[in-house]
Structure formats: structure tokens, C-alpha cells
């Protein structure tokens, strides 16, 4: 095996840098194997082969065999796939070094093992003397090892695969209001609503019922309160299952309204039914696969609102034809 002097020098410098590290261990002679004549580098494995390492060492330092004999040196090489170990016994003391090499670069292993053997048998003071002048050419000090790469940021948790449940139950509160227009007084009403969407697809059925307790209103001279029970039946269009989801409900609206005057001499209470439509846009954020708070906006339209009247004023106006509102609640997927 031919080892070029530049590569060998680099291996020398690298092994020199490693030589003082704790990974290099020296033991006593307790487990010194018996020496035998012949090659002084032994071992198993093909990367590197003991013969290549011995040849490389003797090529660089031809009289190394004298030191081998004098110091009763034995070297064992062990190929351990991504590592290889070099054990050296010299004067009854064991030196051991394990090198990492994921790439299994066998030439490099030969160079590194040979340099480690030379430096161990003949320490740098000897190697860098006259005989080893070629190796001891003044060289720039080795660059400091590069700083360890920064810790990569922790990998984000993989997004769970969201699915749409067969039924979604939503319980929430909402506020609805209407300005004083189109013959209706100003209303602001707060209520609660239970809604169920059925179907796992992107178009599902939806049904809801709500309750809005009595809230006051005032026509020009007549004051009163109104209690509402809205019910809807319609379709839900929604986006693909995700952590953040949107849904649009388009529903027919059935309103039960009870109106009661509060400042008339002879006050009456009437309950009426109104029909219309409602659109609700919801945005939800899944906390878990089944639980998601939501917010939404809603608009209701009653095309034929009821006329409201009293004596002696006559017609006061009508119930609101348009309601706008906002909703907040919690969705439970079943």
C-alpha cells in the first residue's frame, strides 16, 4: 500500500491532536498477549487490514522494527463497522484508541492507525528528530477544531391527521342586534344556542335552537320587551378538516317571538311566528381532535316582518327584518 506523505502528515497531525485525549487509554501488562515472531500488527477485519497498517508504519519509519523488538510491541486492529480500534502493547503497557469512521474510508483508517502506532512506539520527540525530518517539517499549527454546529431547533411536532367527526354539537352564546331602520326599533339581544351539524363531509346538515330572554325595545311612544326562540334548519358548508376550520351555515329560520308592552295602560302580550333565512360563518380552532372553541358572525333576514301597533298611535312599525350578530362557543365532535 502506498501512502502519500501529505496524507500521512495530515493523519499524523490529527492523531497528534487526539493523542492527549482521554479516549487514549493506557493499561498495565495484566492482559498483555504473548508476543510472537513475525508481523507485529495483528487483528481481524478488512478495513483496515493489519498488514496494510504495518506496511504503512514501516514505510514511514523503516527502522521502526528495531523499536518494536526493543519495546516488545504488539498491535491489534479491530474493525467494528463504523469504528475501528487500535490496541498497542509496549513495554508491557497497553495503549488503546478507538476511531470513528462512518464512511469506512479504509485508506484513511490505514493512515490514522499507522500514525497512532508510530507515535506510540516512537513518541513525537523521537519521531520529530533528525530521522523524522520529513515528517517534522514546520507546519502551521492545525486549525482549531470547528465549533460544534449549533443545536438545531427542536423539530415541530408532526401535525396530527385531522378528521371530521360524524356529528358536531355546538353550544354557545351570541348577541344579536338591529339598528333602528326599516320600520323597526333598535334591538340588542343576548342569547344562547345549541347547534348540531350532522355528516362528516364538507356539506352537512345543521339544525339549531336558541333562546333570547326578554330584551327591551322602544318605538316612539311605546316601550316593551321581546323574547325570541330562533330555530334553524339548513346546510353547513365547511373547509377540509384542519386545526383551524371554517364553516358556513345557510339555514331557514323559524322565529317564535313574544312581545309585551311595558308602558301602556292596557298592555297585551302576543306571540307570533316569523320565517326567514340565516347565514352564519364560523371559525373554529381545535384544541383536540374533538374539542374546538369557535367564533362566528351571523345575519338573519325576515322578509315579511309583523306589523306592530297600539292604541291610539296605530301602527308603530314592525318587527326587525334584519338581525346581525356575533357568536362564541364550544364545539364537540362526536
Amino acid at each position: 500500500m502506498v501512502v502519500c506523505s501529505r496524507s500521512f502528515r495530515a493523519a499524523f497531525l490529527a492523531v497528534t491532536a487526539l493523542a492527549g485525549r482521554p479516549a487514549l487509554a493506557a493499561n498495565t501488562t495484566r492482559d498483555l498477549p504473548e508476543l510472537a515472531a513475525g508481523p507485529f500488527v495483528h487483528g481481524v477485519g478488512q478495513c483496515p487490514t493489519p498488514a496494510d497498517v504495518e506496511t504503512a508504519a514501516l514505510t514511514r519509519v523503516p527502522d521502526l522494527s528495531e523499536d518494536v523488538a526493543r519495546h516488545r510491541v504488539r498491535v491489534e486492529i479491530s474493525d467494528r463497522e463504523t469504528k475501528y480500534e487500535v490496541r498497542i502493547w509496549k513495554d508491557g503497557v497497553e495503549y488503546r484508541k478507538v476511531f470513528d469512521d462512518d464512511a469506512r474510508d479504509c485508506d484513511k483508517r490505514v493512515r490514522f492507525a499507522a500514525v497512532f502506532v508510530i507515535l506510540t512506539i516512537r513518541p513525537p520527540a523521537v519521531v520529530l528528530g533528525e530521522e523524522a525530518a520529513p515528517l517534522a517539517e514546520p507546519e502551521a499549527p492545525p486549525p482549531p477544531p470547528p465549533p460544534p454546529p449549533p443545536e438545531p431547533p427542536p423539530a415541530p411536532e408532526p401535525e396530527p391527521e385531522w378528521t371530521q367527526s360524524l356529528a358536531q354539537v355546538e353550544l354557545g352564546a351570541f348577541v344579536e342586534g338591529t339598528p333602528r331602520w326599516l320600520g323597526a326599533p333598535r334591538f340588542v339581544s343576548v342569547g344562547g344556542e345549541l347547534r348540531v351539524a350532522l355528516g362528516p363531509e364538507q356539506v352537512a346538515g345543521v339544525i339549531s335552537v336558541g333562546y333570547q330572554p326578554a330584551t327591551s325595545f322602544a318605538f316612539e311612544t311605546v316601550e316593551g320587551d321581546i323574547t325570541r326562540v330562533p330555530g334553524t334548519l339548513g346546510l353547513r358548508f365547511r373547509g377540509p378538516p384542519a386545526r383551524v376550520e371554517w364553516a358556513l351555515d345557510l339555514s331557514a329560520l323559524l322565529l317564535l317571538e313574544r312581545l309585551h308592552a311595558t308602558n301602556l295602560l292596557y298592555a297585551e302580550e302576543e306571540t307570533v311566528m316569523e320565517l326567514g333565512g340565516r347565514a352564519t360563518l364560523l371559525l373554529s380552532y381545535r384544541l383536540t381532535s374533538a374539542l374546538a372553541p369557535y367564533v362566528g358572525v351571523t345575519g338573519s333576514f325576515v322578509p315579511a316582518p309583523h306589523e306592530v301597533r297600539a292604541l291610539p298611535e296605530g301602527t308603530l312599525g314592525n318587527t326587525p327584518p334584519l338581525w346581525l350578530g356575533a357568536a362564541l362557543g364550544l364545539r364537540l365532535g362526536l
Partner: protein
């Protein structure tokens, strides 16, 4: 399919376009005369008719305001006992509305009382004169409305400027907000066809808490008789009736 759609539309119409919502009423009492008699005035002990001699107070279909009937007050002679319809109640503050119709402009030299705010005397046997709304003829032939208070320190109020002319040949509404007080906190405001024409305040307006409200045709000096004055849709209400107000829903 078509039949189903029509049925659905009919259902929507029934539910969504149903009858109006009636919230109630502020009308304390009213006389619309559509029953064809004067029961609304005479029922109970709180009202009645006086000066009804020779058919001076009669239901008529000649000039109904709304509906079929109105009351025709005929003054066949002159005097302080002309035909009068009255209703009594205890009301600290109320609006008194009545519609009148003058078929022609009658000449009267002094006064023609068409509405009175009096009070039951404390012993309950009589009526104390209070405030009158009266009409009289101006030299140019116009008929004006003015106010007269029977208390000596008040008597006749100045004629409003511009003068509140009473129309002839069409119905007009006189509505008053009468605050009945025995102390100097009473008041009377008068609207003619919705226009405020008189307002007096800070004076006693009654002798007792029972208000004696009357619609009448009482005059001392008509140029000629008989004089006919039609009255209809009389109401006492907690809120203003206004010319657009209604006393009953169909």
C-alpha cells in the same frame, strides 16, 4: 310538485305575514258611535247626555268621521243648556280628543262652546265650570277657536296669533292635554288638527279631582237656528291621539 310549492308558499304566508301584533292601548275611554247608539256616553254613572230636547242629540249617518255614525248636536234655540255629551273620570293628566264637523259657517256674535273641562263639585251634586274651548265668528266670516277660563282672574285668553281658524265642511280634530290640579300647577294645551294653538299653565284647573269632560254645542247668540255640529271619535287617552291616531283596530 307545483301544488306542494303553492302549499308551502301559503304556509309561509300564514306564518310569516300573519296578523299584526297588538301591544295594547293607552286609551282610557272612547266613544266611536259605531254601535248606532249613545251607550258609550251613557253606560255607567260616569257619563251622559244633557240638553237632549227634541232630538238635539242624535246619531247620524250624514257626516261620519270613521265608520258609519257620528253624533249630530242640533241647537234649535240659544241658551246655556245646549246639547252636551259628557264623561267624567279621575285623571291627573290626560289627552282629550274629539273630531268636529261644521257643515256651514254659522254666525255667532259672542261664544259657541264646543268642549268643556269642568269638575264635579265637592258635594258631588253639581259641576263647577272650568275651562271652555269655544268658537266664534270673525268679521270676515272666519270661525276661530279660543279659550275661556271661568275663574275671574283668568277669563278669556288672548286669541292666538296666527288665529286658529276652524275649517268648514271638513272634519277637524281638537285635542287637549288637560292637567287637572286644584293648586297652581294645572295646565291646558290645545292642538287644532295637530297644531299646538293654546297653552296655559301654572293655574288651578279643577275644583275637585273628578274631571267633567264634555263635547257640546252651546251658544247664546247664533244669527240663525238651527245650528248643526257633528261630533265623532271622542277619546280620552294617556298619550296623544293626534290626527293620525286610531281608537280601534279593524
Amino acid at each position: 310538485m307545483q301544488r306542494s310549492a303553492l302549499a308551502l308558499l301559503a304556509l309561509v304566508g300564514t306564518l310569516g305575514c300573519g296578523s299584526p301584533i297588538d301591544l295594547g292601548s293607552d286609551v282610557i275611554w272612547s266613544a266611536q258611535h259605531e254601535s248606532g247608539d249613545l251607550e258609550e256616553w251613557r253606560s255607567g254613572e260616569s257619563g251622559g247626555v244633557t240638553g237632549d230636547t227634541d232630538g238635539a242629540v242624535a246619531l247620524s249617518t250624514d257626516y261620519p268621521h270613521r265608520g258609519r255614525y257620528s253624533v249630530k248636536l242640533t241647537s234649535a234655540s240659544m241658551g246655556e243648556d245646549g246639547p252636551t255629551l259628557f264623561h267624567e273620570l279621575v285623571a291627573d293628566r290626560a289627552f282629550y280628543s274629539a273630531w268636529y264637523y261644521l257643515p256651514e259657517a254659522y254666525d255667532t256674535a259672542s261664544y259657541w262652546t264646543v268642549q268643556q273641562f269642568e269638575s264635579r263639585t265637592s258635594d258631588g251634586d253639581g259641576v263647577s265650570a272650568g275651562l271652555d274651548l269655544r268658537m266664534r265668528t270673525l268679521p270676515g266670516g272666519e270661525v276661530v277657536l279660543y279659550m275661556f277660563h271661568h275663574e275671574p282672574e283668568y277669563l278669556q285668553s288672548p286669541l292666538a296669533d296666527p288665529p286658529p281658524y276652524v275649517p268648514v265642511g271638513r272634519w277637524f280634530q281638537i285635542e287637549s292635554e288637560f292637567v287637572a290640579r286644584t293648586d297652581a300647577t294645572g295646565s291646558l294645551r290645545v292642538w287644532l288638527d295637530g297644531e299646538l294653538v293654546y297653552a296655559i299653565e301654572d293655574r288651578p284647573t279643577v275644583k275637585s279631582e273628578t274631571v267633567h269632560f264634555a263635547c257640546s254645542s252651546v251658544a247664546l247668540d247664533f244669527a240663525s237656528t238651527p245650528v248643526e255640529l257633528f261630533v265623532d271619535d271622542v277619546a280620552i287617552s294617556r298619550t296623544r291621539v293626534t290626527p293620525d291616531g286610531v281608537l280601534a283596530f279593524d
